[in-house]
């Protein structure tokens, strides 16, 4: 399987040549906690890119139309809308503060001129409508241009209001609020292929919602033991199948994935398929369970495969084979000898996400030191790239990075001990069609494009 670090990408063939395109966010060394990006998601067309942050805000970028007079701009992303999705709340019954941090954003498929997305914090999911207004009505009968009401008895003639163009205004309004259904922290939301329902998952339960109905949700998975003393496993991620509206998967802290079919029973506590790779006895340690905990699960666009991310690797599973993954890609195997230190500073609990490219031929995930890793499933090649301001010259090619695991450190290599574990890339997203990627590095959002694009 692909090893850690990798060679360069020669031009031509299937290899990508990633170039810097844009970076969003403050350059300031002092990062405000609220500005830390906590989720990144392209919409179905890729024209919109949404980010959520710890301060509960959502920022949506829109891709500019390609302009023949500025061929190099090649569709830049600029701010389209910014709004406060969630506010900090206080639960008076439990005396707890509920964080406003946006855990996940998921777009709904577009059905009319407006855009819809779901955003969630630990407890509450909200459906937001983002709509454009570029016309304004003028010539009302009952009110003046400045909004003052007219006396109806003074009106002697009626006129038809006229629509006049105005500066584009993008409005975000909350259309539904789905609250009070989760006792534990929500880690995932997933829109169903039926476009009518979605699921939300917390540590112990998964609920099914209808997008129109906010006062009811169906509990479809409940792994809470009758006696909490017996709790040894939690749900870490869940996702609907991209085509089969009755199928979803959820992953656990013990490195297992369960596939459930909602047609077989109303409560999906019993799985249809159970995916687990047997533990390798030679690499067993006290930390085996922690590093096997799955932090993200994503179906391929085809729906035939799914990918899971644990602490040190990314695994691709064929849905027809439960016994082991069909591919395992090492993200940063050099950390295996550092697990004790990473346990000490809690980095071992970091939850990295992963994503597929549009054709399912490549996968991407983040690492430390602002590195992120990309694996080409066809050529079996992998590459380590860095999101940093130093590499941020317009259209500059990204140079592959290499981590020195022992022995003499070559020029341009970085030793494991010099890695900055504060600079973690947990959230990445790949455009659904083109080779454009968005990488969140703490409070900055980097956008890279493939030169051969």
């Amino acid at each position: 399987m692909a090893g850690a670090g990798g060679g360069g990408c020669p031009a031509g063939g299937n290899d990508f040549q990633w170039c810097f395109s844009q970076v969003k966010g403050a350059i300031d060394e002092d990062v405000a906690e609220a500005d830390i990006i906590s989720t990144v998601e392209f919409n179905y067309s890729g024209d919109l890119l949404a980010t959520g942050d710890k301060g509960g805000r959502v920022v949506i970028f829109q891709r500019e139309q390609e302009n023949k007079s500025r061929p190099h701009s090649r569709g830049e992303y600029n701010v389209y809308s910014t709004f406060q999705s969630h506010e900090p709340e206080f639960d008076y019954l439990k005396s707890l503060e509920i964080e406003e941090k946006i855990n996940k954003i998921r777009w709904l498929p577009q059905q009319n001129a407006a855009h819809f997305l779901l955003s969630t914090n630990d407890k509450t999911i909200k459906l937001w409508k983002i709509s454009e207004r570029d016309k304004r009505a003028e010539g009302y009968n009952l009110k003046d241009e400045d909004g003052r009401l007219r006396d109806p008895f003074r009106i002697t003639a009626l006129r038809v209001p006229i629509l006049k163009p105005m500066d584009l205004m993008v409005e975000a309004s909350p259309r539904r609020i789905f609250a009070n259904a989760h006792t534990y922290h929500i880690n995932s939301i997933s829109v169903n292929s039926d476009h009518e329902t979605y699921l939300s998952a917390d540590d112990l339960r998964i609920n099914l919602w209808h997008l129109e109905i906010t006062d009811r949700s169906f509990n479809i998975v409940d792994i809470k033991p009758a006696n909490m003393e017996e709790l040894t496993e939690v749900i870490t991620a869940a996702e609907f199948h991209p085509h089969q509206c009755n199928v979803f998967v959820y992953s656990s802290s013990k490195g297992t994935i369960r596939l459930c079919d909602m047609r077989s029973s109303a409560l999906c506590d019993r799985h249809s398929k159970f995916f687990e790779e047997p533990e390798d006895p030679s690499s067993r340690s006290f930390f085996s369970e922690i590093i096997s905990s799955i932090s993200d699960v994503k179906f391929s666009h085809s729906g035939r495969y799914m990918m899971t991310r644990d602490y040190l690797s990314v695994k691709v599973w064929d849905l027809n084979m439960e016994s082991r993954p069909v591919e395992t890609h090492q993200v940063h195997e050099y950390l295996r000898s550092k697990l004790c230190s990473l346990y000490e500073n809690d980095c071992i609990f970091d939850k990295f996400e992963c994503c597929w490219n549009g054709s399912d031929s490549a996968i991407m995930t983040g690492s430390y030191n602002n590195f992120f890793r990309m694996f080409d499933r066809n050529t079996r090649r992998d590459v380590t790239l860095e999101a940093s301001r130093e590499n941020s010259k317009p259209r500059a090619s990204l140079k592959p990075r290499k981590v020195c695991t022992g022995g003499k450190r070559k020029k341009d290599e970085i030793s494991v001990d010099s890695l900055d574990f504060n600079k973690k890339i947990l959230h990445t997203a790949w455009h659904p069609v083109e080779n454009i990627i968005a990488v969140a590095a703490t409070n900055n959002l980097y956008i890279f494009q493939d030169k051969i694009n």
């Binding site: 534990y184 540590d203 909490m228 003393e229 709790l231 802290s253 550092k338 004790c340 001990d417």
Partner: protein
Amino acid sequence: MLSKGLKRKREEEEEEKESLAVDAWWLDPGHPAVAQASPAVASSSLFDLSVLKLHHSLRQSEPDLRHLVLVVNTLRRIQASMAPTAALPPVPNPPAAPSMDDNLLASSDAALSASMASLLEDLSQIEGLSQAPQPLADEGPPGRTIGGAPPGLGALDLLGPATGCLLDDGLEGLFEDIDTSMYDSELWAPASEGLKSGPEDGPAKEEAPELDEAELDYLMDVLVGTQALERPPGPGR
């Protein structure tokens, strides 16, 4: 909170080497050079660390369940390896290792899981409360308030066998600061009964099953008209 990991400075390299050696041992359990003493030392320092992490996690007002479960499972693994003769059933004290002086570490597996279990149980009880908005307040009598992590609760208490449970007073303590006079009001129940008892005394009386034979006879006579009303109808029921 941001990770505590920092770029390593030169002075810390030696610590790094030590932990690397320990890690290497874990990767290679069959290593011939490992003496009996060093595994215990290595395990016990990891044990200490895990106990500290467990404390920290439990002290949060709303613990991260995944973090908590993973730390506890790891702690159980370490304890199992430190007491190789016993299976997981509680050992009164883990096998003596040099750093075990501290009270913190003198807890047994039973106490640890008991306190963790009781705290997780509290979480589920809190959940039960949040889903049942009925006035539980009429249980009234003052007890300890729950709130977040009780401010005075030290690390020792968390591991003490009996005191780990925040709710050992039951639910009574939860609502002591809520004005329950509204729920104690007598207006509701008796009033509804009062309304019912009126009509019951009248024409419905003859259908009341509790009437005895004498009264029935009397009523029959009244109905038939053979006897005038001599006494007022008795109290209903």
